[in-house]
Amino acid sequence: MELLLAVVIGSLYATGLYMLLRRSVVKLIIGLGLLSNGSNLLIFTMGRLVRGRPPIVPEGESSVPPPFADPLPQALILTAIVISFGVLAFALVLIHRAYQKVGTDDLDDLKTTDT
């Protein structure tokens, strides 16, 4: 499964980076979404892949009996998901406002601070 996931992560990085390299500013947003998904999956896979054993202590026990999924990457990714939502919103609005103001979506026309 790790091999499969490695390929999946690689494909998310490749497509995300390709979109980031486009001149059309809207495509950047799509690229950002793909890349953040890829990064989250990367951190997730770097932990341990354990099927169906969430790190939740059964009632009455003091610890999770192994094997269990690594809780630390999960905690990292959980906040990352929410924050990337905030970042995505901010980027969308920034582009929206810039487009309103300048009337172009070509990054080559957004090189200077003069409008």
């Binding site: 499964m1 999946v8 494909s11 497509t15 809207v26 799509i30 905690a75 998901i81 924050i83 609005v93």
Partner: protein
């Protein structure tokens, strides 16, 4: 009063200077001279004890972990310098108050001058090499600001920058040298290095350390071939030239050589480097001086020459040479500061800067004339001045030099002749001869202006007549400190008829010849080819080269196109991460901890396909839908591999993202294909490579992933310590709650950013 306070007083007073100077008013500017005067008296109190052979150390920890201390060492050498700095400083401050009377920025001038004085005192008194370096750089910095004091003039600005770049580069070399020595010796206290000199100088790195330190000393003391900054520094107001660029700061390099002489004096590199550099600077400076027409530039080149002589003598390092160096140091500080101040008086009173255009001023300015004649006599080495004594001594030292005595002596006689001509130009030419009619309404300079030169000129003569006085109190302790052993030197005004006296007479006679024939010396044309390769042309070429490189690099790297920056970052990362992955000989073995199910394979195929679709679709709606598919599929993966919290969150965020896109996306421009075919092909290759590298990275990390100790800890402590069974949640709200607090703050800021962008409209 404490030494620490004495050094720091200048720094403490400096920030107040602009305000205080305004309060004092222009008539009371002389009050500033009380600060250096007080310091002079403070250091004078140490003289009797030093003459008895005592030394004082005061140590205040500064950054003890790095072995940096504010430690000060008072011995004959440092106190001689401290007395020169504060004593000449008092006269300069007095002079400057009158010279800049009514100047709108006199307060700022005193700020800088006080700062410089404090730095210079710190430099000569510092015992810790790194503290010394800090003060060293502070003197460079204050010199920069003072040369550029009249910053409206372009020439002043570029001269200031030149001085800063040259001495600053030397300063960095010095720092590197210090650090090397610190590595070898295991500390930064100079006395400690002195006690372990035997081990120090045989270390293979000692040569490098010394070479770097010498580089620092040479740049600071304007040795050939980096002497050119000093004449250009004459853009500074005259009191600055007199103080920094003749009497004190430029001697910092010489001071350093004297300080290190007991440590490195026996190394081959010491004499082999310092002696030639000093000798060339000595004669070249003197010859170039004669060719100048402006008084200040003339004096600047003669200062270069004097610094060369001091360097040369310390390079020779015999007891006679060190004695000659110390006597000459004192003599030069006295007469050169006086001559600079006189040049300032001439400029101030007549508005003429070239001595050749002045004559017969003795009637209008009798006191200035006396001061000038006394100082010039010392420069020319005429008896009974201290200059005469020092000339006798250094001829003797050169005659007895262990290497190339005849060459050095000839060189010195040549330089001496040129210096006699310089003395004639400064002490005779403006004051004697027939009075010029256009200059007849002149009168004597005000008292604060002539007081300094007169006192300095007189001290030089008195010291020459009665050398035993300065010898016991100032010179002997300084020579002892430099040699590292007691010196028994007896100076006398009259040495009797000997070959040295003959040489002196020859020098003076030759000097009179040079003076009368100076027209010829000046007319000698420097060959064109040589003019193109002067050190200052080299400096200009270097500077231009740096600018050209910077422009080129900016043009290439700073394109202003986001995608080129990204492309550079991605390509570079692919290179440096991919290369070691490729180099791994064993390849990447696969660890199969989780076997595949049909469901996983389906998802794993779906995600790349959906991602590819998001790239390929030309409709925005379709692309967003494809992105959504990627997100939901990953949420399912989280679900399968034991992360229900992640799955839930991802589902919710994906849904909210859809709402977000619905609200905004259709007010955004449509997708457009703006890049050309080639650009797209290049980006496909680069991003595919990047994806491949990430895949390989994941596999190789998985292969070596060690047991996660932190996770184990969290899992075991979750119930007993945090009373929670969902470990992920416990990490978020308890174990790492501070991180989460930061994250929700970031989230709040993102919301604020969106609100600000949408609602707050900048006025058109």
């Amino acid at each position: 009063m404490d030494v620490l306070l004495a050094v720091l007083s200048g720094f403490l007073l400096a920030p107040l200077a602009p305000w205080l100077d305004r309060r004092l008013g222009k008539r009371w500017g002389w009050m500033w001279a009380l600060v250096p005067l007080g310091l002079f008296l403070f250091f004078l109190r140490f003289v009797p004890a030093l003459a008895r052979g005592e030394a004082f150390t005061r140590r205040v920890p500064w950054i003890p972990r790095l072995d940096i201390h504010l430690s000060f060492h008072l011995d004959g050498l440092s106190v001689l310098f401290a007395l020169l700095i504060s004593g000449i400083g008092a006269l300069i401050f007095l002079y400057a108050a009158r010279y800049l009377e009514g100047h709108p920025h006199r307060g700022r001038f005193f700020l800088l001058l006080l700062g410089f004085m404090a730095s210079m005192l710190g430099l000569v008194l510092a015992e810790n090499a790194l503290a010394l370096f800090v003060f060293w750089e502070l003197t460079s910095l204050s010199s920069y600001l003072l040369i550029g004091f009249e910053h409206e003039r372009e020439s002043a600005r570029s001269a200031a920058l030149q001085a800063l770049l040259v001495t600053g580069a030397g300063g960095l070399a010095l720092l590197t040298g210090w650090i090397l020595l610190g590595q070898i010796g295991g500390g930064f206290e100079i006395t400690q290095w002195r006690s372990q000199r035997e081990q120090l100088i045989v270390h293979p790195h000692a040569r490098w350390a010394l070479a770097l330190i010498l580089l620092g000393a040479f740049t600071k003391s304007a040795q050939f071939p980096v002497h050119f900054w000093l004449p250009n520094a004459m853009e500074a107001p005259t009191p600055v030239s007199a103080y920094l660029h003749s009497a004190t700061m430029v001697k910092a390099g010489v001071y350093l050589l004297a300080r290190l002489q007991p440590i490195f004096g026996t190394m081959d590199l010491w004499g082999a480097t310092i002696v030639p550099v000093g000798a060339v600077t000595f004669s070249l400076g003197a010859l170039l001086a004669v060719r100048q027409s402006e008084a200040k530039r003339l004096l600047a080149y003669s200062t270069v020459s004097a610094l060369g002589l001091l360097t040369l003598l310390l390079g020779i390092g015999t007891p006679t040479a060190v004695t000659a160096a110390m006597v000459f140091l004192l003599a030069h500080a006295l007469y050169k500061a006086a001559l600079f101040l006189i040049a300032g008086i001439l400029d101030h009173e007549t508005g003429v800067r070239e001595p050749e255009r002045l004559a017969g001023l003795r009637r209008a300015m009798p006191i200035t004339t006396v001061a000038a004649v006394l100082a010039a006599a010392s420069l020319a080495g005429l008896p009974p001045s201290l200059g005469f004594l020092s000339k006798e001594l250094f001829y003797e030292a050169l005659r007895a030099a262990p290497r190339w005595p005849l060459l050095l002596l000839g060189n010195a006689v040549l330089a001496g002749m040129a210096l006699v001509a310089v003395a004639g130009l400064m002490g005779v030419r403006p004051f004697f001869g027939r009075e010029r009619s256009e200059l007849q309404f002149l009168h004597e300079a005000p008292r604060p202006l002539w007081l300094g030169p007169l006192l300095l000129g007189l001290s030089g003569t008195i010291a020459g007549l009665w050398p035993a006085g300065v010898e016991r109190t100032l010179l002997n302790p300084a020579i002892t400190a430099t040699l590292g052993q007691p010196a028994h030197i007896h100076l006398a005004a009259w040495h009797g008829l000997n070959p040295t006296l003959l040489l002196s007479a020859l020098t003076i006679a030759g000097g009179v010849g040079v003076y009368t024939g100076r027209g010829i010396v000046r007319a000698l044309a420097v060959p064109r080819v040589l003019a193109r390769f002067t050190p200052s042309a080299g400096y200009a070429a270097l500077l231009n080269g740096i600018f050209t490189l910077a422009r080129f690099q900016t043009r290439v790297l700073q394109s202003g196109h986001l995608r080129y920056y990204l492309l550079t970052i991605i390509a570079w990362t692919v290179g440096i991460v991919g290369y070691p992955l490729l180099r791994r000989a064993d390849g990447i073995a696969l660890r199969r901890s989780a076997p595949e199910h049909m469901m996983d394979i389906g998802l794993a195929l779906l995600i790349p396909l959906a991602a590819l679709a998001a790239v390929r679709f030309t409709s925005r709606l379709a692309a967003i839908a494809a992105l959504g598919v990627v997100g939901y599929a990953i949420a399912l993966l989280y679900m399968i591999f034991g992360a229900p919290d992640l799955a839930l969150t991802q589902f919710m965020v994906e849904s909210l993202t859809v709402i977000l896109f619905v609200l905004v996306f259709y007010r955004l421009p449509r997708f457009a294909t703006l890049s050309g075919r080639w650009a797209r092909a290049r980006d496909v290759v680069v991003s595919a490579l990047a994806g491949g590298v990430v895949s390989a990275l994941v596999l190789s990390v998985l292969e070596m992933s060690p047991p996660n100790v932190i996770s184990e800890y969290f899992v075991h402590k979750s119930v007993p310590e945090a009373h929670g069974r969902n470990v992920v949640n416990v990490i978020l709200v308890d174990f790492r709650a501070l991180d989460t607090l930061g994250e929700i703050t970031v989230l709040a800021l993102a919301g604020l950013g969106v609100y600000a962008l949408m609602r707050l409209r900048v006025e058109e």
